[in-house]
Amino acid sequence: MPRVVAIAMSGGVDSSVAAALLTQSQDHVFGLMLRLWADPHQGPNRCCSPVDVERARQTAAQLGIPFYMIDAQQPFLQEVVEPFIRGYAQGVTPNPCMSCNRLIRWGFLLRHAQAMGATHLATGHYARTALRDGHWHLLRARHPDKDQSYVLSVLSQQHLSHALFPLGELTKNEVRQIARQRGLAAMDRLDSQDLCFLGGSDYRDFLASRVPEAYRPGPILNTHGETLGAHSGLVGFTVGQRKGIGLSASSPLYVIEKRVADNTLIVGPRTELARSTFSIGELGWVLDPPRPDASDLTVQVRYRSRELPATIQWLDSSRALVRASAPVAGVTPGQAAVFYRGEECLGGGIIL
């Protein structure tokens, strides 16, 4: 029985090459593209601008596969954008790409793909899966510099049983080379940056327009409680941020904490930014949670950050304490702490 594979296309080089690779197999392949919500003041969503839609459609035609747009504007707004806004208003820094992966790509889109007869959903992510002992495992991409397993750490067994990542063994250069060899429409497109629904504009302007009440001025303190100045609103800051604090100091100051309770911004030198102990919630695991005595774990606290050896200690059924082997910078409430064992991504939780 040949598989029926829906490939999530964006008009970008990665998903285009993933589609091209799938068409070389025996699988029946068709392309899907999500129409995502965009801030009406900022122009189209960067993931599905008219140019991108045209490029994806052209790529599908080049590959001889059917192509369909699926409207996800409402679910994307409700399940990704609004939680993002709420999170910022509450002082955390959410990662909308992860909720998009869990709820939109591997929720809404997978369900639509299945309604259209697909047995599998493929994406252009750099990651790998493996079926061992009857269970699905999520692995880092063969080449770690492009690995995207961090944003896929929210996937469950049910998701992974339908997931295909055709680019998992390839480097970006190899992908670009394939795109050029096949003359794919996306071959010269640059990698995407920033939040897709803001059309390239600054997320602070977006938040200012959406939650103006969160732009309340308040004090800036150092970690010793001394007042250093005033901020224009906590929403405009992210833990670990250095630029734009608006203070002059002998050594660079970083945002250490956003204290929503008293609308206070805590800043300090880089050394105070690093933390080796922090707690996480909203836990989710690809298979089983790691055992508390596991000594072979590493943790990664940002999409592009380095992993560090760590242990996990359960606080209750939904929260855990993470102890990294050394202080790690950029531990940001709202972002995900993702655990690995070797090259295997185990899942994780949201930093509290």
Binding site: V4, L34, P66, M69, D71, P75, R111, H112, Q114, A115
Partner: protein, 388 residues
């Protein structure tokens, strides 16, 4: 995975009939003359165009000089609306365009352009919840200032047929030009009664098993028009441009064939249509027929389903091997409820879930049954995928 698709979208376009293709063939290469030329090559081509004109006139039962060849239904609509509006303004200073909210975009956008760019005022006749115009409403709204009236014959989205002969006569009594877009109707309905009234009638080739890119505007001598495309004096000066001889020949052959096969096909189509209408209503929860249940095109079944993304449904049906369409269809995935469906009074949550199923000459009963056997499950799957 899908077998070759069963085509249930004949309102979008129809396959070219092999007899039409055969009739066209000589004029693509061997008979390449320009009908306007003096020499024999030109005369052969001219004879072909005039033979086609006679054939069209015979089917419509109108004088040959009423038949103007265009590049398709949209151009016919544009020539009728703009041509009549500008002529009425020039001749009697009339400045109002009267049409309906359920027109094809070729009419509605043109009427809007006349209002926006050319100083006409635009007036929309009300329609009932089947999409039909009440002749009394038209009668009440006709004034000496009415430049042109346009009411769609059979609606492309909902299949509803309007009493256009009656409407045309009301306008004729007051000397006001009446136009109807009969692009959907021409394949299925006898237009002779309508043609007896002085009505501008748009017809397109590809909706009736003819070629794309060719159409007719029937222009009765009583209705003055100004040309839209100026140049050489072709088509009585109403439509300049070298005749597209093979396509014109093809359109005439297709229209003739449609008239010949109409009685048989009408009955056969209606049977398939009614099977679709009744089975869907019986088997799909939260479904309504859009348009008139009886006074509709014989090949046309259309529905609205509550809380369903019509685009996603059409995509899923395509993967199941059935080609249909949706009134909210939009290839960019940004569906907006169809203006036609909203004009019927349907709320957006229903209007976004529209489906149009249009059978054709090659549609077999077992294909319709196959479609009806998968549709309820596909609808259920798409509904739950959308979280509804």
């Amino acid at each position: 995975m899908p077998a070759p698709a069963v085509y249930l979208d004949h309102a979008a376009t129809t396959p070219l009939d092999p007899k039409v293709l055969a009739a066209m063939q000589p004029y693509f290469a061997a008979e390449y003359g320009n009908p306007s030329s003096i020499h024999a090559m030109g005369q052969h081509a001219e004879a072909a165009v005039e033979r086609a004109r006679s054939e069209v006139a015979a089917v419509l039962r109108c004088p040959t000089q009423d038949v103007i060849f265009t590049s398709g239904g949209s151009e016919s609509d544009n020539l009728a609306l703009r041509g009549a509006a500008f002529a009425s303004r020039e001749l009697r200073g009339a400045r109002r365009v009267l049409t309906t909210p359920v027109e094809h975009p070729a009419v509605l956008r043109t009427a809007e352009a006349l209002a926006r760019q050319h100083g006409f005022s635009l007036d929309l006749l009300p329609v009932d919840h089947f999409g039909q115009v009440d002749p009394d409403d038209l009668r009440r709204r006709l004034t000496p200032d009415t430049a042109v009236v346009s009411v769609i014959h059979a609606n492309n989205e909902i299949g509803t047929v309007n009493p256009v002969t009656h409407l045309a006569r009301l306008c004729a009594e007051q000397g006001i030009p009446f136009h109807t877009d009969a692009v959907q109707a021409a394949a299925h309905l006898d237009l002779q009664e309508l043609t007896d009234a002085p009505a501008l009638i748009s017809i397109g080739g590809h909706k009736l098993y003819g070629p794309k890119g060719v159409g007719v505007l029937r222009c009765p001598s009583q209705i003055p028009l100004l040309p839209e495309i100026t140049g050489g004096g072709q088509e009585h000066g109403l439509r300049a441009g070298t005749h597209n001889v093979p396509l014109i020949v093809g359109l005439a052959a297709a229209l003739k064939l449609a008239a010949e096969t109409r009685p048989v096909e009408h009955a056969r189509h209606s049977g398939l249509r009614d099977r679709i209408l009744s089975r869907v209503l019986a088997e799909v929860p939260q479904a309504v027929i859009s348009g008139h249940p009886l006074q509709r095109l014989p090949n046309h079944a259309s529905f609205c389903f509550h809380q369903l993304d019509g685009n996603a449904l059409v995509a899923a049906l395509d993967r199941s091997g059935y080609a249909c369409s949706s009134g909210s269809a939009c290839k960019t995935g940004d569906p907006t409820p169809s203006g036609v469906l909203l004009a019927l009074g349907l709320p957006p949550a229903w209007a976004l879930g529209s489906l149009r199923v249009t059978v054709g000459r090659s549609t077999l009963p077992q294909e319709v049954d196959g479609f009806l056997s998968v549709l309820p499950a596909v609808i259920q799957a798409v509904r739950s995928a959308g979280g509804n």
